[in-house]
Symmetry: C2
Subunit: 326 residues, 2 copies
């Protein structure tokens, strides 16, 4: 999965004000601490995916949603660390399912340590996320994160349920994007707003939109490639039986794709050929336009009362998500 470039993240950190950079540094330090404080085994295998790489997009949203004045807040650092831990836990578990060897150019936990280790590592990261929040004295952040974590798992179950099912439509697909990715982005914004002392549903909605667009663009990249950029061959979703918007839309436009039996796509070459056909149908432009519209809607929905600095930083994150695609 590609993420916004370092340049974008740096721009956001700068736009967020001096406090953002300091909080993000503490988040990084805390992640390293957590991984090294749970035994040699976690330190050896966990550090690969957890402390290395990743642009910390969700912690960044937590910081920005909180606005700068709470820069010294322990609660803010804890919230940012907690969402990143949940995210890291899902990555480690995802790699178990996919049997993936590399993530962010480094060996995955499952590749270097095996399934048992990867499963326990994911469970540990998950538990630590809640322990992190429970070290504070507020119950509301835990409600937000446990609901988001439940939604994430429900999204995975939904994806499993919908696998190879060519009748999955746009609405159900978008609902899955919301569960799989949107809710944790939403939770990031909500947790930040809570830590900043100003709970905000509007910021939560912004986060959800950005997350849905992020997932949509990721699904488009799976069709377009190139592999050097995404780190996986084109058409991985097709081979997994995961039906995404590009395919849903392309089937409306191309009768040959409409009658395609998804299970007949078995090789990388066949998958690449179907990707070409999806692209030729114009479905990718449709899907990308949808993602851009979601991002535009998220930006337009930002509340008027937001301080300029905060608005600029949030808009930069939104633009960064879109830039992944271009």
């Amino acid at each position: 999965m590609t993420v916004p470039g370092v340049a974008t993240v740096e721009a956001v950190v700068e736009a967020g004000g001096a406090g953002t950079g300091r909080v993000m540094t503490r988040v990084d330090q805390r992640m390293v601490e957590l991984v090294s404080n749970h035994g040699e085994l976690l330190a050896r295998h966990g550090s690969q995916t957890i402390t290395a790489g990743g642009k910390r997009l969700r912690p960044l949203l937590v910081c920005i949603a909180a606005a700068v004045p709470v820069e010294e807040s322990e609660a803010l650092v804890r919230a940012a660390v907690a969402v990143e831990l949940v995210h890291a836990a899902t990555l480690v578990h995802d790699d178990v399912i996919d049997g993936a060897d590399l993530r962010r150019g480094r060996p995955t936990v499952v590749a270097s340590g095996g399934r048992l280790l990867a499963l326990a590592t994911g469970d540990l990261l998950f538990s630590r996320a809640f322990a992190e929040l429970a070290a504070g004295d507020k119950i509301e952040p835990i409600r937000v994160l446990s609901a988001a974590a439940s939604a994430l798992a429900s999204g995975e179950l939904m994806q499993r349920d919908d696998a190879w099912n060519s009748h999955v439509g746009q609405e159900r697909y978008l609902d899955r994007c919301r569960l799989k990715t949107g809710v944790l982005f939403r939770a990031s914004c909500e947790l930040g707003a809570l830590a900043g002392g100003a709970p905000s549903d509007a910021l939560g909605r912004f986060g959800e939109g950005i997350g849905v667009a992020f997932q949509l663009l990721d699904d488009i990249l799976d069709v377009t490639g190139p592999a050097e950029r995404t780190g996986k061959p084109r058409g991985t979703d097709l081979l997994d039986g995961t039906v995404t918007l590009p395919l849903i839309e392309a089937r409306k436009r191309d009768p040959e794709l409409a009658s395609l039996d998804l299970r007949s796509v078995e090789t990388a070459d066949q998958a690449a050929a179907v990707c070409d056909q999806i692209e030729a149908s114009g479905a990718l432009d449709f899907a990308r336009d949808h993602a851009l519209a979601v991002v535009a809607g998220a930006k337009a929905g930002l509340p008027e009362w937001l301080p300029e600095t905060q608005r600029n930083a949030l808009e930069l994150v939104a633009d960064g998500v879109v830039e992944r695609y271009s």
Copy 2:
């Protein structure tokens, strides 16, 4: 894994007073509700291991530790459900690792739905456990449960780290038992005591002792069998490279076992032969005596101020754990 018989659980429920039975019924109802409220897929596969079977030993400890007067407490039901959800999550994930087909005589989630489904189901149960506690207004129970869940995962990591390592000694083994099983029993007692309004470290220590003994006896049963009783062939731990007290002690007594290369035990027949040799060394009696001493210590450590009813019920649970072995 065998559990105390229905007769024992019924005796405990009776000893715990009328309220215990009512709370346990609500715990069961809530578990069924949770599994059926998260989509058709979870309901179909999850109900197998989650709502069916299991003697609800941990929820029972929560109830008894709380003492009867809080029978109508929502917080008590939530705490009992939360520990059982964490336990269920670890079972579902354990079955992914072991590729187990049956649990409690029914198909496992991984057997009926595959790895992705089982992994997501475990993650969902895990998240719901914290959501369940977060529905209350107290932070302390979440601290207790997240610490226990972290310890569980650390115990799994430790077991992975120690696999095939013949230098693992008794102390390290017992520490692993504490992490893998003791802490969730401890958390059950602590959560119950919290819900009852009387936080108690003494009850927590009792729970930990019972849990460690439970694990020890489980490890002995792996050596003694019979398979019809434990639901798995004798010597499964040996084949997994899991070094337990019976083997650790037997190696001190039998030079042939001391020089055995654990990786050379590859077939069920070889494992059964090593089990016979462990038994012949007298190590099982040693391990069982240790477990009984731990249980006796746990009972002796129960605080003097405990009401008679509560003490009786806790002692019945302790005896039930021992009876599994006989």
